[in-house]
Symmetry: C2
């Protein structure tokens, strides 16, 4: 049995986006194209961007929205941008061009109510059965976990930023 998986990396620990990045590069290593849709602006920096360039266009990176913050003063505008971003992701999934579509930090849009969970899950359930989709971000809703094939929770056991070490080039970004 071989099928497109819905993979979720959630939890408050490090490594969710990094694991998705590793998966993207592994697929690209096979020559398989990947679409990486970033729902929160600013999670990728120079290191990731340069790394992706090494894969000769096999990894398409798309940055969506204006950096959803869940603290926005303008919830309507947030919801509009969230729907726009989701529509774009749906097109990537439906295009059939990609082995894997990564929806990076997508869970926040569900968690903060910028998108309704059920229609998103219905779309994912109807997708091409070969299509792998990877979703990252904290607070994955229970219904998403229920719908997923593979779910890993990254739990923060210890974090150096709590003990005064600042983010460092090549490590945090």
């Amino acid at each position: 049995m071989q099928k497109g998986l819905l993979i979720v990396y959630t939890g408050d620990g490090k490594g969710k986006t990094t694991a998705a990045l590793g998966m993207a590069m592994r697929a690209a290593g096979h020559g398989l194209p990947v679409c990486f849709v970033q729902f929160i602006k600013g999670s990728w920096h120079y290191g990731e961007l340069e790394a992706v360039k090494r894969f000769d266009g096999l990894i398409d990176l798309h940055v969506m929205g204006r950096g959803f913050t869940w603290k926005s003063e303008d919830r309507e505008e947030d919801a509009r941008l969230a729907r726009q971003a989701w529509d774009f992701a749906c097109q990537a999934v439906d295009s059939g061009r990609y082995h894997t579509v990564v929806l990076d930090e997508f869970t926040y849009l569900l968690h903060y109510g910028m998108l309704a969970v059920e229609p998103c899950l219905e779309f994912l359930a109807r997708r091409n059965p070969d299509q792998h989709v990877v979703i990252t971000g904290r607070y994955a809703p229970e219904a998403l976990i229920g719908a997923a094939d593979l779910v890993t929770e990254m739990r923060m056991i210890k974090h150096p930023l709590k003990s005064g070490v600042r983010a460092q080039r090549g490590i945090e970004f």
Copy 2:
């Protein structure tokens, strides 16, 4: 405050080696060299190997041992190979040539008693203070977690191999 971090990805979930791979490629994206020492043979396949080749020698991959199994009939030979692999890793750490040294699946050697934990931690404590080290694998001993700066536990919430889907190219390998 800037310092070399000891980073641990542990737990029974997916994404430990993949997150380390993502970190290696992110550092290499910055032009920073990485040494990836693999303590369990066979965890890397074609996808990872091809991906790493895209970084023009910035990521050195070294496969150690004969695939420690913790079921070996010959514990003395295992312990000898484990020490040999550890010595190699120590040289990589001491060489000063790498921004990050990844000890992939290293925890098993500690967990299964092929190496003593304390001397390993003493070596890591004495390393160059700028040197980042990433250790992956299940069953990270408490003392290693105590010594680390950043620890994430990958918890398996759901796994498709349990529901009969086999490992797939570009996803599992």
